[in-house]
Symmetry: C2
């Protein structure tokens, strides 16, 4: 039998009624002849409740106990989903991470899946079981302790199962009906994409389009898992949602697939830094140690042996960055005149694999922003992405103007 992986997020299993609705979707695929592996999250809100209890009990908690507590929500949903399927006369059983086993590293709280031996589940499929319901987000360490994969980890569980079982497709059911050309709350012309390339999805995911966990997309790309994002609240249809797939599987596409944004960015500038070999390491080493996620970096042209160094990070990490840099100055490992901080910026990015073969995308982007009177503070580019840092108050305007200019409201 061909195997399908179907993953239901927290809002899709938030109540007994919704679990029933999800089970019906699964039964439809079983009726088509698939053996199905269902990955479930905890009922919406449950994981937050458990995390709250852990924090209340022990602010600096032991991550092994955190994992033991927080993983329990998925076990409940897995059992209930199996029961519901049985009630519909679909042979099903639940599996907790350690039962499969989902073998992970010992990095509690953000473990990585190392292997998923398929034998136990395949044996049950051979005996006539049609659905294996697996608790997402969790695994078991080499020491036999329960691990979790980090928030959103059930997406990664789903893709890892699809890879391990060579599944025909991995369907991620969520509360949005697919991946959009941009955030529909900002731009009412946003259009749902039928297909998007792994590389593009990866850039969008890491740029703050919170549809899929970044790691799950990386994994899908590496193992060529056909990933579909769709809503569990829509009627089933073959072209529902967005297929995340290989570049070659996308016949036609716009040069730009989507405009992403990230609202809460800060721009920090070290003014008049002594420009010498190793200065970048001296600056960004302490920031990394302090847990600051530095995103864009720009170094000005050097003048009289001194330069300005600008970088961006999330606004809630500004204090940490300031503390780390001032400490480094005090011990003399770096030397700068002043530390300038702008908390009022946002990042807007254009993403598309078409940029590889089309020139002039950056020029067009800069002209569109200039025409709207928006000043660009920092620019970074990758092979398939251009990001700019601008004043936050222009963010919505920039997104809308770029969406129009690149014709994203119309399919290619």
């Amino acid at each position: 039998m061909p195997i399908l992986v179907m993953k239901f997020g927290g809002t899709s299993v938030a109540t007994i009624d919704r679990i029933q609705r999800a089970a019906k979707r699964v039964a439809l695929e079983v009726a088509k002849g698939y053996d199905v592996i269902v990955i479930v999250s905890a009922m919406a809100g449950k994981t937050n409740e458990l995390v709250g209890w852990v924090n209340e009990t022990s602010p600096l908690y032991d991550a092994r106990e955190y994992d033991a507590v927080v993983s329990s929500g998925e076990n409940v949903t897995a059992g209930l989903m199996a029961l519901r399927l049985q009630e519909m006369e679909v042979p099903a059983r639940s599996w907790q991470g350690w039962q499969v086993p989902v073998q992970t590293t010992s990095a509690h709280g953000s473990a990585r899946i190392e292997a998923i031996p398929p034998e136990n589940i395949l044996k049950k499929f051979a005996e006539g079981m049609k659905v294996a319901v697996v608790a997402g987000f969790q695994g078991v360490s080499p020491e036999g302790r329960i691990t979790t994969l980090g928030r959103g980890g059930s997406d990664t569980t789903a893709v890892a199962f699809a890879a391990a079982f060579d599944a025909e497709r991995c369907d991620i059911f969520t509360d949005v009906d697919g991946v959009y050309t941009t955030d529909p709350r900002i731009c009412d012309k946003a259009r749902k994409l039928d297909r998007i390339a792994f590389e593009e999805m990866l850039e969008l995911a890491s740029l703050g389009a919170k549809v899929l966990q970044t790691r799950s997309v990386e994994l899908a790309m590496r193992y060529k898992v056909k990933l579909r994002v769709l809503s569990s609240f829509e009627e089933p249809s073959d072209d529902a949602g967005t297929l995340v797939c290989d570049e070659e599987d996308i016949v036609e596409s716009n040069v730009i697939s989507g405009i992403a944004h990230s609202r809460d960015e800060a721009k920090m500038t070290l003014i008049s830094v002594a420009d010498r070999p190793g200065i970048a390491a001296a600056i960004f080493g302490p920031l990394a140690e302090a847990g600051v996620n530095v995103d864009m970096i720009v170094q000005n042209i050097s003048e009289d042996g001194r330069t300005d160094m600008t970088f961006s990070c999330p606004t809630d990490q500004v204090l940490r960055a300031q503390t780390a840099l001032n400490a480094a100055r005090e011990v003399g490992s770096i030397n700068f005149h002043d530390l300038d901080c702008d908390n009022g910026v946002a990042k807007v990015s254009a993403v598309g694999i078409g940029m590889r073969s089309h020139t002039g995308v950056a020029a067009k982007m800069f002209k569109v922003l200039a025409d709207e009177g928006i000043n660009i503070k920092v620019i970074t580019t990758s092979e398939i992405k251009i990001s700019v840092l601008i004043d936050r108050k222009y963010m919505e305007l920039a997104v809308q103007a770029l969406h129009d200019a690149f014709g994203l409201d119309k399919a290619a």
Copy 2:
């Protein structure tokens, strides 16, 4: 190090504050030099919530999935308790049933513990861990699936651990401060017992004094586990609670240790049954198959080859009993004139190991009831117990009168 087992019931771990209070009790014993195994129930109300979801999802549920869902509450408490102890700088970790492993039969929903290999936990004690927090009520079947031991099963988990680890004592923390001579809500002279024999506790537990799960007392008796029942809401002291122990460890005791009662009993009488060999089997076989818990049985003297057969069962099983008996009459396996049913009776019992060596206890009990004008409908006796079925409206009166007559308000 000597080992102590401490079990905390649902009300003792109902909130983060109460878990903290329980952790303090554990830390006190660690300070005295014990290695402690803590057995925890789910936070009060959690198991009922999970059972509710299972019933809503699948009224005739698969007991294996029921167990997978319902066992999750204990995992949460175990992790939180371990975190709390760590916060108090007591080296602790949590263990789920399958991690120990607590090996049980495959009778899901009411599994029996078959073995608890102590190696894994002893190894951690040897490495300096002071407290092993174990999720109660659960185990793992030979097939590697999660099992539960039935409601109240955490008591049994606790006693089984005490036996497996040869613990010095097994303390059961609950919301009452011990075992009483009778129900204090019915008789204000009820007195807390300092000690009670296993056999007596067993009779009291099965007679409806809901302090301990019956199976845990059986297990404690078989393995000579010193069992103490005490309140987690009282200040710690060495003579707190009630010690359930071997008969020989009780120096002085009253002839009768306690008066138990069971309110919701029904008396059913098959009138004019053909009296022939095998008739009892023909009656009680179908009742057992229908899941009716028959308690007392009385057969009248036979007359003209016919007799009356009376038995008692819980009131909520009367309908099931009637259906089973009428069905048996229809297929001709039994033959009776009428089925009389009295839903308004209660059972009152006097329990005490002193009855073995003292005569006249039954006579005294009957006289006390007669003096109060209470008619006895059915009598049964065991070596250490006399039970009578009486009109429910006299139950409180009977308990109070017997408590007075046997001098239970005063220690021996």
